[in-house]
């Protein structure tokens, strides 16, 4: 059995996404996948790989993490991330970051350099400075698109999961499944990986919900909800944070495998299609045996995966592009 890797750039992609917005994102997924593939081929540990890939996804402004994060209801940035090592089950998480360039790396430092698992807001920012990680002015993370999204959300007076394109007046004619209050969803990035020895790791990062209340924490930094890894599998989820939290989604995939003896695909499908409402969640997962699952119950999910035997794919909706 060889290594396997899967990554996502967010669940909830309207079918109407125009080519000029779709192509750069496909390219970005391909690019990040290549980075992960090279790293695994050079025997980097899955923990290092997921951090590396998520850092890359954070740096790309097309996805809702790091640069390109969506904005709070005050127009500010509050980023969160978590990482988990399936071998040791050690984990790290951060929330409420405003100046840290790579939230996932700070989460890793919390895991490795503190007696704690989870640091947030001012305390996390202070820790970042003590650790000497790269920080920048918060404006670095803000993009025009996200300012636009926030304006639209405020006009519509709602909180959005995120959206891959500005809302046009004819949204109602689109075929995507709307979230309960009419929003489409996307947002959050993540990566899971397993090496040929069955070592697993997972990492997830996000800017959260468009127009979220300041101080709102979602699933991405809650271990067991947005991120989980043990010796059976590694999972990273995306979608409506509140749904993922109450469903302990990432943990549930592993629990079904462990307690009901299901395969990765079976477990992941049950969680996505039977245990969470339609239009709210997607996930990527790998198992110790090298299986990959990337189910979603939203219109689409930005994703990519590869295995050591040379297979790789990039996909948004149901037709993967086999590379």
């Amino acid at each position: 059995m060889g290594w396997a890797i899967a990554l996502h750039g967010g669940a909830g992609v309207p079918y109407s996404l125009p080519p000029e917005r779709r192509q750069p994102r496909e390219e970005a997924l391909r690019h990040c996948l290549q980075i992960g593939i090279k790293a695994l081929n050079s025997k980097m540990t899955p923990l290092d790989v997921v951090e590396l890939v998520v850092r890359e996804l954070e740096n790309i402004p097309h996805f809702n993490a790091g640069r390109g994060s969506v904005l709070t209801n005050k127009g500010t940035i509050e980023m969160e991330a978590s990482i988990m090592d399936g071998n040791t089950m050690k984990c790290g998480a951060v929330s409420g970051l405003t100046t840290v360039v790579n939230a996932v790396s700070l989460a890793r430092l919390v895991m490795e350099n503190t007696p704690h698992i989870y640091l947030a807001f001012d305390g996390a920012e202070e820790f970042a400075r003590q650790q000497g990680v790269e920080t920048v002015d918060s404006s670095h993370f803000i993009t025009e698109e996200n300012i636009e999204r926030l304006n639209q959300a405020k006009e519509a007076n709602r909180v959005q999961i995120d959206y891959t394109q500005p809302i046009y007046n004819d949204t109602k004619s689109e075929t995507e499944t709307p979230f309960a209050n009419g929003d489409s969803q996307t947002g959050t990035v993540g990566c899971v990986a397993v090496d040929s020895n069955g070592n697993l790791a997972s990492a997830t990062s996000t800017g959260g919900l468009v127009n979220k209340m300041v101080g709102r924490i979602g699933d991405t930094s809650v271990i067991g909800a947005g991120t989980y890894a043990n010796e059976l599998c590694a999972v990273s989820a995306t979608g409506v944070g509140e749904v993922i939290i109450r469903g302990t989604v990432a943990r549930d995939v592993a629990a079904l495998m462990e307690f009901k003896g299901l395969s990765l695909k079976e477990a992941a499908n049950i969680v996505i299609h039977e245990r969470t409402p339609k239009g709210t969640v997607g996930l990527v997962a790998v198992s110790a045996a090298g299986d990959i699952a990337m189910p979603y119950n939203t219109p689409g999910m930005f994703r990519a995966s590869a295995t050591e035997d040379g297979y790789s794919e990039v996909a948004i909706w149901s037709e993967p592009i086999i590379e």
């Binding site: 984990c91 007696p115 209340m213 709102r216 109450r246 943990r251």
Partner: protein, 322 residues
């Protein structure tokens, strides 16, 4: 229809040399809280109302580590967190980094019911509290002389301390082979509080509240506000955990009890025993749980847990040790 059941806890990991007077005070508070919950249940209150009511009482009393009497951060301040979950639809609410709100568990409930989110923290949570008009006080209100003393001790030892209720001058000479989180039990006692309830309609709920670790880094979040770790409730059960936060988070402890009941068809006590035995590795923790069948159970793998439980058929017990 099975009757109601309730359990409360005031923390797992207790110094075997805890003075009898302290033990008595703790047991009295647990008994008082149980009775509060029982009265409410007898008058038909819902599970989620009862867990909030009981945890408010535990927060208000300075004996345990929540609300007033919370452990202090490295800066000598109080940062509280709490979560609440209503098993019926698995609605949940949580707060962290709360520094002026008198009852964090009630703020968590408001997050669940009055905001579009599940979890608010720090400045955002404080702002929400003011919008909601909840009772707020100065941070000093929560700080007790005992804890100021404890913090000094912890800093001198330059370690994280979970908490400790014995006055400082008494603990210097105490020897104990029992350890938690690498520290002798004489300088460790987490004392997070929690309550789980199944009401007469079979609805389960859970709530947990804490000040966290003594001498913790400002901004540190533990297991108590994390749904699935410190708190969980669903159709079949309600669970609240306490102990080493890291172990509880990694083990997604509260969710685990429900998962083995759902996926392995275990009964409540079996599930609790299974989780305590198999999910903690080197970690130390305890938990209380109720099932929709009116059962109550608890388990812990460390030295003692402050707890109390009662069921509608008249069973009632308050305890600290095995």
């Amino acid at each position: 229809m099975a009757g109601w059941a309730i359990a409360v806890h005031g923390g797992a990991g207790v110094d075997p040399n805890l003075p009898p007077q302290r033990q008595e005070e703790a047991k009295q508070l647990l008994t008082h809280c149980l009775n509060l919950g029982i009265s409410a249940l007898r008058s038909g209150a819902s599970a989620v109302d009862v867990v909030e009511l009981v945890v408010r009482q535990l927060e208000t009393d300075p004996i345990f580590n929540s609300g007033r009497g919370s452990a202090l951060t490295a800066k000598g301040t109080v940062e509280m967190e709490a979560s609440i979950m209503d098993g019926t639809k698995r609605r949940c609410g949580a707060v962290s980094g709360v520094s002026t709100v008198k009852n964090p568990v009630s703020l968590a409930r408001l997050v669940m019911e009055k905001s579009p989110h599940s979890y608010l923290a720090f400045a955002g949570a404080e702002e929400f509290a003011r919008q909601q008009g909840v009772e707020v006080v100065d941070n000093e209100y929560f700080i007790t002389p005992d804890n100021v003393g404890m913090l000094k001790l912890a800093k001198e030892a330059n370690t994280i301390m979970f908490d400790y209720r014995i006055p400082t001058e008494k603990c210097a000479g105490l020897e104990s082979p029992v350890k938690m989180n690498g520290l002798p039990i004489s300088v460790y006692a987490p004392e997070t509080v929690g309550c789980v309830v199944v009401d007469s309609e079979g609805r389960c709920a859970a709530a947990t509240s804490t000040g966290g670790l003594m001498n913790k880094m400002s901004g540190r979040i533990g297991d108590s506000p994390l749904i699935g770790a410190g708190t969980y409730a669903c159709e079949v059960c309600g669970v609240s955990c306490t102990g080493e936060g890291e172990a509880i988070i990694r083990g997604t402890l509260a969710r685990e009890v429900a998962a083995v009941m759902e996926y392995k068809d275990l009964g409540l006590q079996e599930a609790v025993d299974f989780v305590i035995k198999h999910r903690l590795d080197e970690g130390f923790a305890g938990l209380i749980a109720v099932s929709n069948k009116g059962e109550v159970a608890y388990g812990f793998n460390c030295n003692g847990m402050f707890r109390g439980c009662a069921t509608e058929n008249g069973f009632m017990e308050v305890g600290i040790w095995e």
